[in-house]
Amino acid sequence: MARYPFLQEVKEWVKNEGVSVNEILHDEIYERARDIAIQRVNDAVKKAVVGERALLNETDCIMEIFSYPLARMIVSSIESDFLRRRYALAEAKKAYNSLKNEDNGFIRKFAQEFGIELVEKKIHFADYLKYAPTWHEKWKLVNRPLQKGMIDMSKIEMARLLQEAIRKKLEQELLVLYSPPEARKVFQGAILEIKNSLQKDEEKDVQTGNATILKFPPCMRQLVSAVQSGINVPHSGRFSLVTFLHSIGMDTDEILALFSQSPDFNEEKTRYQIEHITGKISSTEYIPPKCSSLQTWGLCPHEKDKLCEKVNHPLSYYRLKWRKKK
């Protein structure tokens, strides 16, 4: 239960315990819970996933459970959309790590809380579509064994789908969550620290210049805004965007700055991936995919413009736009 502190059942339990907000914020007994809360948010900011702690006895579990509402208060106090998204994703990823080891009965019950009715190991395609990351070829409905409306899923796949359901739910909850002024006081130090490290990320966000972005084809513009607003972008999207940005002459640091807004941004990993794709640390310098590949991957927005009809490669679009200007 302590592993899934966002479940209704846990919320009920907390309620029944009858501990007041004041007590968890101030009482010495709950100091550990407060420390864990800060750790939760810090993990989210730095590692994009909330870490696991050993849950050996009842106290461990109680502290773990109480740390969750406290962590949410911290996030809510900071009032950053980026942090909300990143924290929701980090909690969801943590839950995924535990969920994939649960038995089928537990997963079925768990899914119910998110409005998903599982029949044995099968899920209705409409529920599937709500949460599946269909940008990935593997998750596209067309590549699923669909029969009479139901899809057979492995446990890992089901856990991944629930991760998305959890992320969405937490993100929505955080948007309307009210954080008591008392919490701001108690966590003053931690809030300042987290704000600072978030700001550092933002400073890295060097503008690529609106003039050039305006010349991007719709698909790339969409990817840039998805990445910048912190929407989770699949590998195929990142790959397409990096190769495109590299082709038009942006260097690794500039590309990195753009990606630093992504909710699961990890500087080291991203740098490695960019340098791999751009040929700096690998033997291949990849070129951006053509329009038909982008369509297949679901990256081609349906709001195309006239220039799109004339080209079959995003780079041709960019070049034509430049030529037109002259």
Binding site: H124, F125, A126, D127, L129, K130, T134, E137, K138, K140, L141, V142, N143, R144, P145, L146, Q147, K148, G149, M150, D152, Q295, T296, W297, G298, C300, H302, K304
Partner: protein, 380 residues
């Protein structure tokens, strides 16, 4: 008064309309004869109000929204407040290459073939049997309406995934035909494609069944016939076609195929990939056009008339697709003779009767007169 409008007034005096569910929550739209602009954002509280509107105005085209709204008559989408939408599939000959050269009957037959594939997807794969309605559009195709409770809330992107499924967009072929090493001696490695078993769910089973039928069919053909047939597929040349036929004559090869192994001779592999084209549904609009994905679009009202043909938007029974003949079952007008002037030669079979019309004045039955005038093939 204009001929067509007069005829439409006659029909709308006693029409057989099929009202959509959530009737008063839908937006209605109308196009009138000799008018360019569509009247939209209309709603009706009761069925009788719509009937009396039709009776008085006899519009050329009548539409209703696939979506239902809190305020269906509000002028803008945000004000309407979207509550949900049926899932609509619009099969139209306009989106099937090659049909522009065909006659009306032949074209409708081609679309019907696509309809059968679509319905098989909707029932076998999506499980929509009870919530599925099929209509002849009155024009150049068919519409499928689905109002399964699970799909009403789906967003555009999720609906597009359904279209992608039906049109095989993004289908990963290498996960269907997997390469496997079947023989290895020294340097030589012989690989074969492994077919999924025919009773597997989803695209895997579908492809497998179709591939098997496809190869059996080609095998049984005479060489010339097989080559001609294969040439009709994009990407297959004469040489490939000929070799594929020769390869398929090998009985042992067919036996192995039954065990799920497609021998990887290049011609056979090429043909196998073409089977996707046979399986997928064509005519649902270009992939970048949000047809089914559009959650606010208007569709023809079942039982209304199509202003260009005079045919009624007519329900087709799920188990009666084969028997349905649009050029008989969607006719609402009578047989009395009408004098018309044919503007260009035209051949068509309607109500079981074959008409071969030459330019100039002639007499035709009322139902044909409406069709010809609507299609601008004749004038009064």
């Amino acid at each position: 008064m204009m001929f067509l409008r007069k005829k439409f007034l006659k029909y709308y005096a006693q029409p057989s309309i099929e009202f959509p569910n959530r009737f008063s929550k839908r937006e209605y739209g109308f196009l009138f004869f000799n008018e360019q602009h569509m009247i939209r954002h209309v709603s009706f509280a009761r069925r009788e109000e719509l009937l009396s509107f039709l009776r008085r105005n006899a519009p050329a085209h009548v539409y209703y929204s696939s979506a239902y709204y809190e305020k269906p008559d509000a002028p803008t989408m945000p004000e309407k407040k979207w509550l949900g939408a049926d899932l609509i599939f619009d099969l139209d000959a306009d989106h099937i290459p090659g049909t522009e050269k065909m006659g009306y009957e032949k074209m409708l037959e081609v679309v019907k073939n696509e309809l059968k594939k679509l319905v098989s997807f909707l029932i076998d794969d999506f499980g929509f049997e009870e919530n599925l309605s099929i209509f002849f559009s009155g024009g150049r195709g068919y519409h499928c309406h689905v109002n399964h409770p699970k799909i009403l809330q789906l967003k555009s992107q999720e609906r597009r995934e359904i279209v992608d499924y039906i049109t095989a967009r993004g289908l990963n072929m290498s996960s269907i035909l997997k390469e496997r090493v079947v023989h290895r001696d020294g340097k030589n490695i012989e690989t074969s494609l492994v077919m999924p078993s025919i009773d597997e769910p989803g695209w895997r089973g579908r492809m497998s069944r179709e591939m098997f039928n496809f190869f059996e069919k080609i095998k049984k053909m005479k060489k010339e016939e097989a080559v001609n047939y294969l040439l009709s597929f994009e990407g297959i040349g004469e040489k490939t076609a000929e070799e594929a036929w020769i390869d398929l004559q090998d009985e042992r090869r067919m036996e192995r195929m039954k065990q799920g192994l497609v021998d990887l001779t290049t011609p056979i592999k090429k043909c196998a990939l073409r089977v996707v084209e046979k399986c997928r549904v064509h005519g649902l609009g270009r992939p970048d056009e949000p047809v089914t994905g559009d959650i606010r679009r208007l569709i023809r009202l079942p039982g209304s008339l199509h202003g260009k043909t005079g045919f009624r938007v007519t329900r087709v029974k799920i188990d009666g697709i084969d028997e349905f003949d649009p050029l008989r079952d969607a006719i609402v007008f009578g047989d009395e003779a009408v004098k018309v002037k044919i503007l260009k030669p035209y051949k068509v079979k309607m109500k079981g009767e074959f008409f071969s019309l030459k330019e100039g004045e002639t007499e035709v039955p009322e139902y044909l007169a409406v069709f010809l005038i609507g299609m601008k093939i004749a004038s009064v």
